[in-house]
């Protein structure tokens, strides 16, 4: 397997997308969305930006499956930390209700 060389054009496109994402998130941050949407919008934009960086700048798109597995498992473990700890905090006062 030889390494994949990403073209400069793609790098430029990604840069553009990241900058647009930054502007969008700042603008969206100042607008008052209903239903707590602000957090969701901000995090969605951040996730999209992060995905672009990972896939193209970090060449994940062209990497072996092992690299995908490693990265996804990191997110999975982070999810475990969040989920199980929150299982405590979110249910602490259930008993008294």
């Amino acid at each position: 397997m030889s390494e994949h060389i990403v073209s400069v054009r793609i790098y430029f496109l990604i840069l553009l997308a990241l900058l647009v994402g930054t502007v969008l998130t700042v603008v969206a941050g100042k607008i008052d969305f209903p239903f707590h949407l602000n957090v969701i919008i901000a995090l969605t934009i951040a996730c999209v930006k992060a995905t672009l960086v990972i896939l193209y700048f970090m060449h994940m798109r062209y990497s072996k499956r092992l690299v995908w597995i490693i990265f996804v498992s990191a997110l999975f473990w982070m999810g475990l930390l969040f989920a199980l700890t929150l299982s405590d905090y979110t249910t602490r006062n259930w008993l008294s209700q």
Binding site: Y11, H36, I54, F82
Partner: protein
């Protein structure tokens, strides 16, 4: 299968380490090693992200009030600086891959300069917080934390804004530390690039340092909205909810 093992031993690239069979194996090991290191970094930060999540959920108004005190302008500029530096880093890797020596050196220098710019702006921000006595606790003698300069949203109690600043300094401080390490790492790469150590066949160190640099960018991509943006809509007349 056995033949291939001995066959490739004949042509030695000078950068091939003795215990690897060939450069391909060495490259694979290097890249894999960095990705695994990034996994540990994700876990490292995730504990702080969790603390953030928990306390923001607990003190939404205090977090929003304290967050609004941060400079959105500087934060946004820094985001742009870091994104561009990520681009120049990617460009450096590209030039290493295709063997353009001069461009590799230039893009590495650009990346380092942008990284230092980020740190400079961060230092300005820290200094502002220092002047406003917003360094949490008693870390700095004579500058005990005081929320006096924070414009509190209705219903926010001042003492819990300290929690926000604790987490702000912990997360951005850790991030800045990673930036410093990254700048150091890239300086070493730059040094070797100038000496012409890398070629299209062997440039794994550039690639691996690039992975690290992008990762640091990645963390900031999340830190920026979480720390700087989460209460802005309230400032602009929104409902004070989380």
């Amino acid at each position: 299968m056995a033949e291939s093992v001995t066959a490739e031993h004949e042509v030695h690239h000078p950068a091939l380490q003795h215990h690897f069979e060939n450069l391909e194996q060495q490259r694979e090991a290097g890249t894999l090693g960095m990705w695994i290191f990034l996994v540990t970094e994700i876990m490292f930060f995730s504990a702080m992200f969790f603390a953030y999540t928990l306390y923001r959920y607990k003190f939404p108004l205090e977090f929003a009030s304290a967050s609004n005190h941060l400079s959105l302008k500087l934060g946004a500029i820094n985001t742009v600086v870091l994104i561009v530096s990520s681009f120049t880093m990617a460009f450096a890797v590209y030039n290493a891959q295709v063997g353009r020596q001069r461009r590799l050196v230039i893009s590495l220098i650009l990346t380092i300069v942008l990284g230092l710019t980020f740190l400079g702006i961060k230092a300005v921000e820290y200094h502002d917080k220092y002047k406003d006595n917003l360094i949490p606790g008693q870390l700095i003698p004579g500058h005990k934390y005081s929320p006096a300069t924070i414009h509190l949203l209705p219903g926010a109690s001042p003492q819990y804004t300290e929690m926000f600043y604790w987490i702000y300094f912990a997360m951005t401080g850790m991030h800045a530390l990673h930036m410093v390490i990254g700048v150091g790492l890239l300086s070493v790469i730059l040094f070797f690039s100038i000496r012409g150590r890398y070629d299209p066949e062997y440039h794994n160190p550039v690639e691996v340092s690039g992975l690290y640099w992008h990762f640091v960018d990645l963390i900031w991509i999340f830190l920026f909205p979480l720390l700087y943006l989460l209460g802005r809509h309230i400032e602009h007349g929104g409902t004070p909810l989380h």
